[in-house]
Structure formats: C-alpha cells, structure tokens
C-alpha cells in the first residue's frame, strides 16, 4: 500500500498533470485552447533528446488513451519516436500507433520500415513485438508486407515468434479475407509445430480462419492430444473445443449400441431398426484408439484450476464419451444442466443460499427441478417452501414456476403442490399470488373436474388481485370451466363488466372471452351483460379489443345476416383444449455445443461452429498416421536439410542445384562433416574439419561417397545408428547470409569429459566475406561451463562461400537450461542460444542384464517413473522401438532375455547419474515405459521425450 502510493508521488508528473485534464469538458471552447497548448508542450517533450522527457510525455499520452480521450493530433510527433532506443518509450509508442494508425493511415506508413527492421532483430522479444504491432496496424496497403512478415515469422527459430505469427494470422484475415488461401498454408505449417507454446495460438487461428478445413488436423491430431496437458490453459480450451468437433466428424458414436437410448429411435421405422440391429451384430462397436486417446488425455484436466478448461473437458465428455464414462465430469462440474441421474448424489450442493446472486439461484432451481423424482421430491418441495419466503421476488416467481413443473412431471405430488400453491394465494405479496395463479391455471387444466373448489376460491380473488396476468388467468379459468361453477361465473362477469373500462388490455380481452363463453352456455342469465361488455369494447381505444368485440358479436349473437359459422360457435369456444406443458426456460438448447456462448444465450452467435452429427461409418483412421520426422520441428527452412539427409547429396544436387548452390553444398558438408567428426578424436578435430572443409570444395561426388562409406565403417559400435538431429542456431535471414546449425554429435568431448559435444556448421550464402568467427559474452546458469570453439580465421573470398565446421563443449550441469552467447564475425554480433533436449545430456554405458537389474532395484520409489502408452502403429517391432528410443536419447541397449522388453542404459554427462530405461511391450501395441534415474527432473523430462518418440 504505502509502496504504491509513494511510487505515485515519485512518478508525480503523469498523474498530477493528467488528472485535471480528465475533468475538463473538451467541448467548451476556452478549455480547448488550453488543451491545445498542453499538447504543444507534449510535442516539445517528444522532440527533446532526453529519454526521460519522452517517457514522461508518452505516459501522459497513453493515460489519455486509457481514459478514452482523443490524442490523435499528436500522431506525427509520436510516430517520430518509433525507433527510440528506450524500450519503454518504444512500447508506449507501439500502443499509441496501434490505437490511431487506422485513422492516420498515411502517417502510419512512415513507421513500417522500423518494424521491418525490428523483424530481423536478434532479440526474439523485439522480433515478436515488431510483428505484433505490424500486424495490428489495420491499414490495407501493408497487407503484402504483413503476409511476408507472417510467413517469415512462421519459420522463425524462436517458438515465441512463431506463436506471435499464429496470433497475427486472424488479424490479417480480418483485414483482408482474400488472403485466406495463403494464410491457410501458414496455418498448416504452424499446425505441424511441435512446441506447446504455439499449439494453442495456431488452433485459435485455425478456428477463426478456416474451421471447415478439418483435414488439416488429421496429421496433427495425435500430437495435439499428447501436447495438450502442457499447453497453457487458454490454449487448452480452444484445442479441446476444436477436437470435440473433429472427433464428431471422424469417430463413431460410442453409444450406438445402447438399446433404446440414443438418437436411433427418433428416425426410421421399425424395419430400419431391425436392419440396424443385424448390422450391429455383425460389427460390434470398437472405439477408435484415437478416440480413446483424446478421452484419456483430457481427463486429468478436469482438475484444472481454470473453470473454462474444466467446462471444455466436461463438454467434450458430454458430447463424445460413452454413456458409462460421462459420470466422471459430475463432480468437477456442479453448475450445469445435464442429464439428471448424474447429479443426483450432489442434490444438496444445489441448495440455494440467500446470498447467491439471482441468476445463480435461478440456475440452481433449474437443476433441482431437473433432479426431482418420486424419491426426493418431498425433500425438494420442502426446500422450495423456504425459498418462497425469500426477499428476492424474481427468485420467488421462479420457484413457484419450478413447483409447477415438479407437479406436472411427477403425478404423485400434483395434489400436494396444488394445495401448497393454493395456500400461497393468501400470501400478502401480490407477485407471489399472481405467479401462483398463473401456475395453478396451468395445473388445473390437467384435471379441472376435480378442482371446482379451487376455481371457486380463485374467483373470489378477483376482488383483490391487481396483477393483470393473474386476473386474466383467473377469468380464463372461470370461462373455460364455467360449467363447474355455474353460479359464480355470471357474478364474476357482472363485477368485471363494472370495472371493464379500468382494466388492462389483456384483462379486457379475457373479459370478452368470458362473456362469450357464458353467453353460449348460460345465455338466459348473461345475455344483457354480454351485450353491455361488447358495447363497451366496441368503443375501446385499443383496436385489438374493438376487433375482438366485433368478431365475437358476429359469431355468437344470431342475426339474419350471420353466416354458417355461428352454428359452430359453441364448438369453437368450448373445444377441449390440451393441457399446456410446463417447460423449462432452459429447454431447446441441447443442439448447441455445451458451454458455448450460443448455448448460454440460446441463439447462434457469430462464428459459432455447429457440432456435427456422428458419421454413419467411420472415415479412414489411417489419415492420422504420421511418419517420424527427423527434424525437431517440422516447420521451417530446415526441411530441405532433412530430405538431404535422407536422400543423400546426389539427389539434392539434381533437384536444387541451380537455384540453391549454397544450400546443396551445405548439405553435403553436413554429411561429411559429421563423418569427419566421428573419425577425428577430440583435440585435432578442429584441424581435421578445416582440412575436410577446404578439400570439400573441389571434391568430386564419388570421392565424397567413398569417404562416407569409409567413415560409416569406422563408427564406434556403441554410438546410436540413428541419424543425428540438426538444430538451427542462426537463420540465414537473421544472420544476414550466415546460417549456423548445430547438432549433438554424441561423441565424447575429449578436452573435458563432463561436457556435451556440440558440433556447429557455418554456411555463408552472403556475397560479402565473413571473417574471424568466434564466440563472445557467454551467459550461463550457475555451474554451467563452456569450452569455446577456436576462432575460424580469415580466408580467401572463395572459401567463405562455403561451409565450415567447429566443435564446442558445453557442460549443461544435467539441466536443459540454455547456454546463451554471441556469435561474432568481424562485422556483426548475433545473439544465439543452445538448449539441449534432455536425451543429449547423457552418454551410453554398457551394462549386463544382471547389473541392470541390480541398479534398477536401487532406484525405486521416487526415482522410478512409469507410464503406460500405446505404441504408434509403425513402431511395434523391437527394431523400431530401439531406433526411436536411441534417437530420442543417447543411451545404449542392454541385452535382455525377454523379447517383450527393451532396456537401455546411460549416465548423465555431468554427474554420472545412472539413467535406466525399460520399454515393456504387451498385446496390441500397449506398452509400459519405465525410467529409473536418480535425478527426478531428468527422469520426468526423459519420460516425456521417449513417450513422444514412441507414440508418434
């Protein structure tokens, strides 16, 4: 408290100067001029050299915007500062720009070049915010620039920038819907992204731009399901809602076999059903494993702290789960109206407190009414009785209606309810009485003959009740059942005739009705009265009433002109009317997706996507199969490199040769480079690289191939046979032609055994020279160490046009924290960081089966993590499992007697803690993964990585 108030004193200027201005009326002329003056001093401050003055000015301007005051005349002065060094000034300028760019399009264009520069900044935060602002400027002229920026950012190395790109997609789409096709391409690319950060945002973009392109989801379905638990909560909501729709189009109704239940009975004749049954016998329902995957992976989220996530999972279960499983959501969800049985045990949770807001009370009431059945109705009614005494009149009215609904639904208590309601008729509160009358009227219609005394009682009420709706209801009731109260009815009409002119319109209409009905049944007593009422009505102000009177007179009073219709008057008026159904106000919204805005309002909101019906036959499930990608992320410019690795240099040369000579060079370079690294032993590695590097250029294809073969033979047996993953360190665009990639070579780093060897490969595709490549300004978490690679020196211009290799060692201290450093050339510095996947933090060791078991026995309890999984269809044999595990982590296989188990062992590089992995396979691709590791954090992360490797 004291801190914040003191802070404001410090800040002084902004609030004390800003405040009085807020109080002024901008319309009055005198103030206007002083306003103008003050803006002048703001302009002066913005033009000054001092950042502190600029900041002060910007704070005042932003405060004006926040209060909704117009600050648009400062636009030119503000925009000048868009390139300001001070990051806070810059941010505030961004805020201003986004707010006013639409109004001052021409001037806004001046700032664009700054953002274009910002997009190439080495700092990912600046790249991201440049894209955020650029895409938020709603100026149509820059659409092509935005498109380009989004495409570029979608393959940025920073997941945060890619997330921003995903956010920018709907912005561009709303600005120019014609870009849809191109944007879908970007969405497709980003959907393949494997980071949790991007997943939620890109699905949001998908939902806004192309929700109908459900086919884009196939390949990413399993990945999304698996990532879901780690996505931030907002993303979870969006993904779950989207997957609900997806599942409705791809899987079969799990409740299809439930006899009687389900939609089946609604359509089709008996014959059809018989056919269906035969079909069912032939094909028993088996849940698609992907359907199961979704249900299983969303279930833990029911315990999220975020109610929106809980609701999203609940609606998913409601719409997708087999009936037997829907129950799991009940506990987590006590505020929604679903199927009755499910919530019955929680009845008392819905009891209402006097402190609940009205809308909650009404909802709870609805739930209680839906839960009511023969066994609990007496408790519920007793509860209702207390509610009627509430001070909240709307709530009382709702309660009375609820009692009415209970009475219609449950025959046994109809009389009890009716009696209770009749007692309410003597309540002092008119609203209560009125509401009761309306409900009683509806109830009586069900069995009028039994309740003539109630009708009589109500007839007496006409003297007191003033609420028009209630009066009208009573009159209608008397008219309808006048035969049950033959003596009273004419008297009521007499009284009404007296007060006719002072009644409300709906009462007047009912008086006319009553008169007509009585005229038909008891014309002797009421003929004159009816004539009188009709005459009064004839001169009423309301034309509805005049019309009604005219119409009724023609119909019931026989004249020589009256047509054939009057013969049927009695039939018309005294036809037996069906009893009304007392309905819940919440009826009819089932067709909306639960928990959506549309569902709440019971009206389709813009952008609402219909939840499709289950398909008759399941579409091909194989569309969701994904082949394993070599690269860590499927997006980005490295895709080329992946194919290069798979197909070998020759093929690439053919396809890419002319347009990208550099790129093909680099591809072959990587191949041989990694090879030379394997053969070279530690200390000389840099020399051997330099050597191979310079040779490379002139070398013939054949030679390369030979060399490769030779190296392959030399591979140490323990090293994994899988292909090493390449990661991007510096992108060609951000590096101004210099691109750097690195991989974890999985070789011992000889200068220091506790370090992980990182092999880097530099490619220069720029026209200018690059010299003196070296590292600077290494920023590390405590305990981490780095062995820098030696400077890559000056070369002849031709040399620079190609690739160079270097190896550095990093001691990550057994954590996945990134090592940050600057990569320097003779002209530029680039900020880069290397973050290891957990699997690279270990080195393989040999263990015998017995040793393995012994060690495993010592790493039980907290140190053991076990996960059940379903193996990917392509990964069900031993070979594939071994290959995928060794790709994910640098471990070696441990011999094992059983063919149902694969075991792997390794030690972490820094602390030499044992890492033991066991994959036990069972029937139908089910498997169990066990990781034993002293370091729990490593163990947990490793489980996740291997799980991903085995299931995708």
């Amino acid at each position: 408290m004291s801190a914040s108030s003191a802070f404001n004193d410090e800040k002084g200027g902004s609030s004390s100067v800003g405040e009085p201005e807020y109080g002024h009326d901008p319309a009055s002329g005198g103030i206007f001029s002083s306003d103008y003056k003050r803006h002048d001093d703001l302009k002066e401050m913005l033009d000054s050299n001092k950042d502190s003055l600029k900041l002060e000015a910007m704070k005042r301007i932003v405060a004006m915007i926040a209060r909704g005051k117009n600050a648009s005349d400062l636009f030119p002065a503000v925009v000048k500062n868009v390139a300001c060094k001070n990051i806070e000034v810059k941010k505030l300028v961004y805020v201003y720009l986004v707010r006013y760019a639409e109004e001052q399009q021409d001037l806004a264009l001046l700032s664009i070049s700054t953002f274009q520069r910002g997009l190439k900044d080495p700092n990912q935060l600046i790249r991201a915010s440049a894209l955020r602002v650029l895409s938020s400027i709603r100026v149509t002229i820059i659409v092509p620039i935005m498109m380009l920026a989004i495409k570029e950012a979608a393959s940025d190395m920073s997941p945060y920038v890619r997330k921003t790109a995903a956010h920018a997609i709907p912005k561009l789409y709303s600005l120019d819907p014609e870009q849809k096709d191109q944007l879908i391409e970007v969405i497709e690319k980003l959907l393949a992204d494997k980071t949790t950060l991007v997943a939620g945002s890109v699905v949001m973009a998908f939902e806004e731009v192309c929700p109908e392109r459900i086919d884009l989801i196939h390949k990413n379905y399993r990945k999304l399901c698996n990532l879901l638990i780690d996505v931030e909560e907002w993303g979870q909501v969006v993904i779950i809602n989207m997957l609900t729709r997806y599942a409705r189009t791809q899987f079969l109704n799990p409740n299809i076999n439930e006899g009687g239940g389900g939609e089946k009975t609604f359509y089709g004749s008996d014959e059809d059903e018989d056919e269906d049954e035969e079909e069912k016998e032939k094909k028993p329902y088996v849940m698609d494993p992907d359907h199961r995957l979704l249900l299983r992976n969303t279930k833990p989220l029911l315990q999220s702290r975020n109610a929106a996530v809980v609701m999203a999972v609940a609606q998913l279960y409601f719409h997708l789960a087999p009936k037997a499983e829907v129950g799991v959501i009940a506990k987590a969800l006590q505020s929604s109206v679903l199927e009755p049985g499910m919530f019955e045990p929680y009845l008392k949770s819905f009891y209402i407190r006097s402190t609940d807001p009205t809308q909650i009370k009404v909802l709870k009431l609805e739930v209680l009414t839906n839960l009511a059945n023969e066994t609990n109705i007496s408790t519920i009614l007793r509860e209702f009785q207390t509610y009627i005494k509430s001070m909240d009149k709307d709530f009382v009215a709702a309660t009375i209606q609820a009692i009415g609904r209970c009475a219609t639904n449950i025959g046994e208590v109809r009389d009890t309810c009716l009696n209770g309601l009749v007692q309410l008729l003597s309540n002092r509160d008119e609203l209560v009485v009125a509401e009761s009358v309306v409900v009683i009227k509806k109830l009586l219609q069900m069995q009028p003959e039994k309740h003539s005394d109630i009708i009589k009682h109500m007839a007496k009420l006409t003297d007191n009740i003033q609420v028009p709706m209630a009066r009208a209801s009573i009159l209608w009731l008397i008219g309808e059942y006048c035969e049950h109260v033959p003596k009273i009815a004419p008297d009521v009409l007499r009284k009404m005739a007296k007060s006719f002119t002072n009644e409300e319109d709906i009462v007047k209409l009912q008086i006319i009705n009553l008169a007509a009905k009585l005229y038909l049944t008891n014309s002797k007593q009421t003929k004159l009265l009816t004539q009188y009422v009709l005459n009064l009505a004839k001169y009423d102000q309301n034309y509805d009433i005049r019309d009604r009177a005219r119409f009724i007179r023609q119909l019931i009073v026989p004249t020589e002109k009256s047509g054939a219709l009057s013969k049927y008057a009695k039939k018309l008026f005294l036809a037996l009317k069906p009893a009304p159904v007392l309905e819940s106000p919440f009826k009819d919204r089932d067709h909306f997706q639960l928990g959506s805005l549309s569902h709440l309002l019971n009206a389709k909101a813009g952008g609402y996507q219909e939840l499709p019906d289950w398909p008759e036959a399941a579409p091909d499930p194989s569309v969701r199969n994904v082949e394993v990608k070599e690269s860590v992320r499927a997006v980005g410019t490295v895709t080329y490199r992946d194919t290069g690795a798979l197909w070998g240099p020759q093929k690439m040369e053919g396809s890419e040769g002319c347009s990208f000579p550099r790129a093909s060079d680099s591809a072959s370079g990587s191949e041989s480079g990694s090879g030379s690294e394997e053969s070279g032993s530690g200390s000389e590695s840099e020399e051997s690289e330099e050597g191979s590097e310079s040779e490379e250029e002139e070398e013939e294809e054949e030679e390369k191939d030979k060399k490769k073969k030779k190296k392959e033979l030399k591979k140490p047996t323990i090293a994994p046979s899988s292909v090493l993953k390449n990661y991007e360190l510096l992108h060609r665009i951000t590096g101004e032609g210099l691109s750097v990639e690195y991989c974890f070579s999985r070789q011992p780093f000889s200068p220091d055994a506790n370090m992980v060897a990182v092999q880097m490969q530099f490619t220069n595709s720029a026209t200018s020279d690059t010299k003196n490549l070296h590292m600077e300004d290494v920023k590390l978490q405590s305990g981490m160490r780095v062995k820098e690679f030696p400077e890559i020196g000056e070369r002849e211009p031709e040399d620079i046009q190609c690739t160079a290799m270097a190896v550095m060692g990093i001691d990550f201290c057994d954590s996945t924290q990134a090592a940050n450093f600057q990569l320097c050339t003779h002209t530029r510095k680039f900020f880069v960081s290397i973050q290891p996947p957990v699997g690279e933090l270990m080195r393989p060791i040999f263990l015998t089966e017995n040793e393995f078991k012994k060690e495993q026995g010592q790493l039980m309890g907290m140190n053991e993590i076990t996960e059940k999984l379903t193996l990917d269809a392509k990964c069900r044999n031993e070979h594939a499992i071994v290959q995928r595990v060794t790709t994910a982590a640098n471990l070696s296989r441990v011999p094992c007697g059983s063919d149902k188990e694969c075991r792997f062992a390794g030690r972490t590089v820094t602390s030499s803690s044992l890492v033991l992995v066991t994959v036990a396979t069972k029937e139908e691709g089910a498997a169990q993964l066990t990781v034993n590791c002293e370091k729990m954090v490593i163990g947990t992360m490793l489980v996740k990585d291997i799980l991903l490797a085995l299931t995708q």
Binding site: M1, A3, S4, A6, F7, N8, E10, S15, S52, V62, A63, A66, R67, G68, N86, I87, E88, K91, V95, R99, E102, N123, I126, S135, S136, R138, S158, H167, M204, I229, E232, W234, V237, N241, P300, Q303, S304, R305, A308, M311, K331, S349, Y351, R353, T355, Q385, T386, I388, K389, Q423, G595, S596, L597, L600, L601, Y608, Q609, Q781, M862, M936
Partner: protein, 422 residues
C-alpha cells in the same frame, strides 16, 4: 475473442478502456448500464448480456465492473476466467484491485493489458512472466529510473515464456530458502431451526509461499489424502503423480500462489464447531418482538473458537433493538437493518448470550419470516476436516529449505435458518 475491456466503477463511470482490435465506442456500455440500473445488487447483473451487435461479458470484483466486449462465439467461462485473471494480476501488482490504485498506475495497467492479450487471445497471464516484462511499482526503482531514465520494461523475453514451466522464472536466488503452506478451510453449512444440518461442506485451499533458489522439485504428502474429494490444481502439479500416489509433486512458482483447492462434501466428515440456540419472536400485537441467542461450543477438537460474530438481516419493519450482551458488543444499523453481534473468543465456561426486545413499526403486520443468522468464526491451528500434511521433500537442489505448515478454519457461508414450514 475479447474485443475490448472497460473498467467501470460503482457509480457507473468508465475510467479505463482498452481495445485489442478496432475501437468500439464506449456507448456500447449503455446496454449494460440499463441492466445495472434495474438490478438491486451489483452481483445480480447477469454476467452475459446480448446487444444487437455485441455480447457483453462482465464480472464484479472489488466494487468494479470488468466489462468485456466480444463479437463472436467464445466460451463465456473463458472470458470470465480471463477477467478474473486480470483482476488477480492487478491485485498481485498493486496490493489491491480498486479504482484508486488502477487510476494511479494507469500506464502500468495499460502495459499489462497490452501484454496479457494479443488480438483478443491471451498471450502472457503467468504472474512471473509478466513481472519480468513489466516490473511492479517499487519506490527504490522509481527513484533510480527517474534519475537514470531507465525503464520498468524488460527488454528480453522472460525465460518462463519458452520453458515448459512458464510459472517459474530461471535463476531465482534467495539467501533464506523457505517454503510455507497454509491449509485454510471454510465451512459452508446450513442448519435448520432445530440445529440439524441441512447441508454442510468444507471448501479447502492450500496457499503456498515458496521462496527457494534454483529449480526445486517439491513433493508434498498428506497423512490422509483420501479425505480429499474434488480438487483442482495449479498447473504446476503433476496430475499423474496425484492419481497414482496421492502426493502433490510440483516445481513451484516463485512467491505466493494457490497450490490447490478442494471440497470435502460428505456430510459426516463435516464437524460443526459451534451450536446456536436462538429464539426470535415477533408478537401479533404491540409491534414488538423478543430475541434470545446463545452460542456454545460443539465439535471444535479442543481448540479455541475465535473471531465469533453473528450477523442477522432483520425484516424491514424492525425499527430498533434494545438488547444486552453478556459478552462482546452489538450494533444495529437502521438503514440496512443489519444486526451485528461481535463476540470474539468463545469461552466454554460462560456462554455468550444476547437477549432483549425488538421494536417494530407501529401498525405494520408481523413479519412472515424469521430472519436467518449468519455466523462467522475462526479456529487457528486446525483444519476442521482433519487434513494433515505429513511431509515436504525437495529434489533437484542441494540446500536445506526452511519449511512450515499452518492450519486455519473459517466459517464460509455458515447459515442458520429459521425455517417454518408451510
């Protein structure tokens, strides 16, 4: 998704507006004001309103309305949760969430809102990520900043944004490493006239204050985890471990946070710590009434009941109260018709009693309903459900942290009804 946000104070002034897409005129709030006028209580304003072109979704927090405007389909709970998160963030930054404090920190608030949503979709809502981007106000820093022209805005991407533990920032350092947990339970109960429990449940929450260096991995286990019934967890808690071992395993956020909330709803487990004997009568004639209330201890597990307070909303016709209390003071507010009896500590030897007469408006009919009693109380060092933390283990770091657990039981919505049946 979320198009715009308006902050509106109790008297209906819009004192802040923020748009994440194109600007929407503040006149859209008129629909809201119309409804607000009609509602008796601010809490009674429906959270979702439909206008011809927009939907208004609002929450009421700290005497302020957070009103958001959306144009297309969006799960309403999504928006409501987000608005609460905005209010929580303000609370976290400024110590309270009120009009004054927001107006005083208008620029910081605006910067926060800018960071929290991008194009209407949440971008950064984790408190520690935000705090690295926009530093909370602090006297020392603002002095330094004024002198040096430094800023309150971070220039690098917070590490939390990229890691899979976004709630924790990297490189946290403390000289005193400590982890405190508060188990706070609230009893929600409705008792009828005779004192039988109509409904009772316990709402529990485990609040944590963790100041630990590095990346600690904590495991909190309970003596009796089976008590817990319906829980929701902070995202840091590993669901799987809870399901398999019934322990809370997590890498904690830095600072204060809510680790989990839970319900204990099975009736026999809910002990009612006090009993109330009450007798409120209104006489047919003479426009007066009698009131006699005694409170005594019931199931309090040998702990002292403190902060005992009884609140009664009297019927409108009650003009004044002439009462004597054997312990504590009572006040009767004539305008709101609320009788408050502040008792304090409950002494089992001498039970507190409040009795006397009520005078009513002459000629007014006797109130139909007897008022209900709301009871407030506190019991230190006791979780009424019997929940107990058995141990806290730390992995991943080498130092020995200082650990502590506190228990507290409070009355939540403890209501004693004076029911009379039809």
């Amino acid at each position: 998704m979320i198009h715009s946000l308006f902050l509106i104070n109790h008297s209906g002034d819009i004192f802040l507006e923020k748009h994440w897409k194109s600007v929407i005129s503040r006149s859209v709030c008129d629909y809201f004001f119309e409804v607000k006028e009609k509602a008796v209580d601010p809490e009674n304003v429906p959270p979702v309103l439909q206008t011809p072109h927009h939907y208004l979704i609002s929450i009421y927090r700290g005497k302020l309305f957070f009103l958001s405007v959306v144009q297309t389909e969006v799960p309403p709970l999504f928006v409501i949760e987000f608005l609460h998160r905005v209010a929580d963030t303000f609370q976290d930054y400024f110590g309270e969430c009120s009009e004054g404090v927001i107006k005083d920190n208008l620029v910081t608030v605006y910067e926060l809102l800018e960071e929290m949503l991008d194009n209407g979709f949440p971008l950064a809502t984790e408190s520690n990520v935000l705090k690295e981007m926009i530093r909370p106000p602090n006297i020392l820093r603002s002095v330094v900043n004024t002198l040096t022209g430094g800023s309150n805005v971070g220039d690098t991407l917070p590490t939390g944004q990229l890691s899979n533990v976004p709630w924790r920032r990297a490189g946290v350092k403390y000289t005193n490493n400590e982890a405190y947990f508060d188990v706070v339970e609230e009893i929600d109960a409705i008792l009828d006239k005779s004192g039988t429990t109509v409904f009772a449940e316990i709402q529990g929450v485990v609040e944590a204050c963790v100041r630990l260096t590095g990346m600690p991995d904590l495991t909190l286990s309970f003596m009796n985890p089976r008590l817990l019934d319906d829980m929701s967890f902070h995202p840091c808690v590993r669901f799987k471990r809870w399901e398999s071992e019934r322990v809370l395993s997590f890498i904690p956020p830095d600072g204060n946070f809510t680790l989990m909330t839970y319900h204990v709803s099975s009736q026999n487990l809910v002990a009612i710590p006090v009993y109330v004997k009450q007798n409120i009568n209104f006489f047919e004639t003479g426009s007066c009434g009698r009131l006699d209330i005694t409170i005594g201890p019931k199931q309090n597990m040998g702990k002292t009941v403190e902060g005992l307070m009884v609140t009664i909303h009297m019927p409108k016709v009650v003009l004044s109260a002439n009462l004597t209390a054997t312990q504590g003071n009572y006040t009767y507010d004539l305008t709101t018709k609320v009788l408050v009896w502040d008792i304090g500590k409950l002494n089992p030897q001498k039970l507190p009693n409040l009795r006397g007469s009520l005078s009513m408006q002459a000629g007014a009919p006797k109130p139909e309903e007897n008022p209900s009693l709301n009871i407030d109380l506190k019991i230190q060092q006791l979780a009424i459900s019997g929940l107990k933390v058995s141990r806290l283990d730390m992995y991943g770091e080498k130092y020995k942290p200082f650990k502590g657990v506190k228990y507290l039981t409070k009355a939540g919505k403890f209501q004693r009804l004076s029911l009379s049946f039809l």
